[in-house]
Amino acid sequence: MSNLISNLTSDQNVKQQDTKRILAKKAAEREVLKENRRKERAEKLKERTYVEEFDRGVYDIKNPNTYEIMLKKGLNEEIVREISSIKNEPDWMLEKRLAALKIYHKLKNPNWGPDLSELNMDEIATYIRPKAQMESNWQEVPDEIRRTFELLGIPEAELDYLSGVGAQYDSEVVYHNMKDYLALQGVVYTDFESAVEQYPEIIQEYFGTCLKPNLHRYSALHYAVWSGGSYVYVPEGVHVDIPLQSYFRMNAPGAGQFEHTLIIVEKGGSLHFIEGCSAPRYNTINLHAGGVELFVKEGAKLRYSTIENWSRNMYNLNSKRAIVEKDGVIEWISGSFGSRVSMLYPASILIGEGARSEFTGITFAGAGQTLDTGAQVVHKAPHTYSTVETKSISKGGGKAIYRSLVQVDEGAYGCKSNTDCQSLMLDAQSRGDTIPTIILKNDDVDFGHEAKIGRIDDQAIFYLMSRGLSEEDAKAMIVRGFAEPVAKELPLEYAVEMNELINLELKGAIG
């Protein structure tokens, strides 16, 4: 008996030793494999060099900080009242501002998304009036301000490709002009203050109805201290054949820009509106909390393009929202390149049957940037269609986050929605997250969502190199190709500008 037991145990011992031997062998093999695979991967990824900061050329030109009025930093009722009285506003507007301020104080920073704790309203001046009057003659804009815009290519663009231009410098619009033939057709393109004065009924009817002050904390802030911005009215059946552009430039350090844009495109009308933003780099935090309200009526079409290149000290907490009626079309083109932190999710509310929304966006996050961008679509009516196509690129430790919502409501049958988001990461320090939400409340929907994240495809590089391109050129070409869907939606000169921005960003990142 004892013999049997000892036999058994020795059997077990042999078995255990076998297992140990096999495991040790496997582990050794694995170490070799690991090393080999690491080498292979490292070869594929090749050494990269990084450029931390680079000269952004014309975007970084600073003007001396001269101004006519600069409200003291911080936010309270007194400051809000002061802004309103400087602007000589009607009482209803002041009431709206004060109501929004109350909402602002009640709301907290979101518990999701990028960290906003560094943003301190006590350090931000909410209103800065430049030393300039609003002009419609470019030559009368003060030299210094004019030079900045000229370097950014604004009036040139007006002469060649645009039917109207507005330019905002810090808190006030310094220039607004539109081609005469459009005015004759009843098109209105003006700064927002003039609109409040000249079209009080329309503004009172529409202001704050699409984008509500209680949407989030920074939308409330926007309504409390808004200043500047544009108002566009396109009458029934009028096609504005060449784009209108507003350009927002922030020069002062430690300031906020809170422009309000309201666009109404009446039945059957069409418009392409371009928004450009930039600011020189400072070491203090700047805040941009603009508000965009778009009303697209029956059968109307609006294309809203933004190329945003804020400097890396900017918190860009902008809110954009469009309400689209029957058979109307909203097209968003959105390029986010600048800012330290961005939270930007243009929303399309499709309330009429057959309404359509198309969103095309690109986000490029470099060192020190957290760009949390995306889109929201709410299908509220039957047979509404939406597409979302986004590209995110992150490098040098930048964080690019894609966040979205597609919601199909009860009774909104026969809807189609398609989302395609791709993220490209150029190095191991960077982050690329995708956070989409899909809510379907009826069964008659055709819904698709696809996302892809990762490195540049080796096979694509190999293919291009086999065609005679250097590895650097091949990679750069792939990134440009990646951005192509956005570039092709822009007017040529803006596409060129965007490509230049990408080249600037890519400098040193690849190769």
Binding site: L23, A27, L45, W112, S430, L440, F447, G454
Partner: protein, 356 residues
């Protein structure tokens, strides 16, 4: 019978690893565990002895559905199992619940030693139509070069509540295949979290579900790629009818250093009624560039052409629908070793669609 001392206003759990807009109500989910008593479970005797050290290790890794639910699981535990899986016949564990066994609070440890392979099936079902609750934790430890198939089947009745948390760890060259079938319970909260720590570790998840009546399903997956060259996929297929609500919330997390990893998640929902709610939050979090991550979610009605084809072969509309839904679930059902059980599940899916 003693009342367990747990004071929580409202239990919530399955919190997303990256939060998003609160108003959408997808960041977490309400947990409906009403039974706060400690009562015995009589349908099965515990197997093996719980390894406390292992339990702590996993507790440090992840809190399952939520810390409170884990705590309740600890205090109310009425069934404890510890399995060491070795190359042998599949283990099938039946966990029936009924008026006599209204509460099942089980702790399970599944340890797969190096080089071993095995299969374990946990089958939880209602025997009558009384309301029952389950709060379960399952720890899976897959050592180097081992492989395990874990199959979870849930068929509680519509009044009942099912809460299952799986926390797993996968070693070098090891593989975890998880198949889950959710066919019942008015309120289902499922939590899967895996740390793929080893080089070349793999996690493959297949889920099949059918939501009917007022069922509320919350399916939560969190797959973390930690080791190099890890491979993961999540495939969730199911159908919704009546007033059923389904939330799919899957995250593939590429942790810094998981170079060469590849992660995929795919979710497909068939919508059978216009009163259903289908919510999907497929997250990809990447802290590493040398990876490939994909996700795809789609939802819609049954393809007309497929229906037409089947109906042209003489099947009724409902028969055809049943067949199509069943076919989407087949890859998951195929993971079940017991053929009889497999057939049984197929039949139930079919019957429920026919009854519609």
């Amino acid at each position: 019978m003693t009342n367990v001392n747990i004071k929580v206003k409202e239990l919530r759990g399955n919190t997303l690893p990256a939060l998003t807009w609160n108003w959408m109500n997808v960041n977490d989910v309400k947990i409906d565990l009403q039974n706060k008593q400690k009562i015995p479970y009589t349908a099965m005797q515990g197997v093996g002895k719980i390894d406390q050290e292992l339990k702590q290790t996993f507790y440090d890794l992840d809190h399952g559905i939520s810390e409170e639910v884990m705590l309740m699981n600890d205090e109310q535990c009425n069934l404890a199992n510890h399995w060491r899986i070795s190359d042998s016949e599949p283990i099938e564990v039946r966990l029936p619940q009924s008026a006599g066994n209204p509460l099942l609070v089980d702790q399970n440890q599944i340890v797969v030693p190096p080089l071993q392979k095995g299969t374990i099936v946990l089958y939880n079902y209602s025997e009558d139509d009384s309301r029952v609750e389950r709060n379960s934790t399952i720890l899976v430890d897959v050592k180097n070069d081992a492989a395990v198939n874990v199959v979870l089947i849930q068929r509680l009745n519509e009044k009942s509540v099912s809460n299952v948390s799986i926390v797993a760890r996968v070693g070098d060259g090891a593989r975890l295949n998880l198949a889950t079938v959710e066919l019942g319970a008015g309120n289902t909260v499922f939590h899967y979290m895996v740390d793929m720590e080893g080089f070349g570790a793999e996690s493959h998840v297949k889920t099949a579900y059918l939501g009917s009546g007022n069922n509320h399903l919350d399916l939560f997956y969190h797959v973390r790629h930690i080791g190099e060259e890890c491979i993961s996929d999540i495939q969730v297929n199911g159908a919704l009818m009546d007033h059923a609500v389904k939330k799919f919330r899957g995250t593939i997390d590429f942790v810094e250093g998981c170079s060469g990893s590849d992660g995929n998640e795919e979710e497909y929902t068939i919508l059978l009624d216009d009163t259903v709610r289908s919510i999907a939050v497929p997250l990809l979090l990447a802290h590493e560039d040398d990876i490939v991550g994909n996700h795809a979610a789609s939802a819609g009605q049954i393809d007309d052409e497929q229906l037409f084809y089947l109906m042209s072969r003489g099947l009724s509309r409902k028969e055809s629908e049943g067949l199509i839904v069943e076919s989407r679930m087949t890859p998951t059902f195929d993971q079940i070793p017991n053929e009889e059980l497999r057939l049984d599940l197929r039949k139930e899916v079919h019957a429920r669609i026919l009854r519609r």
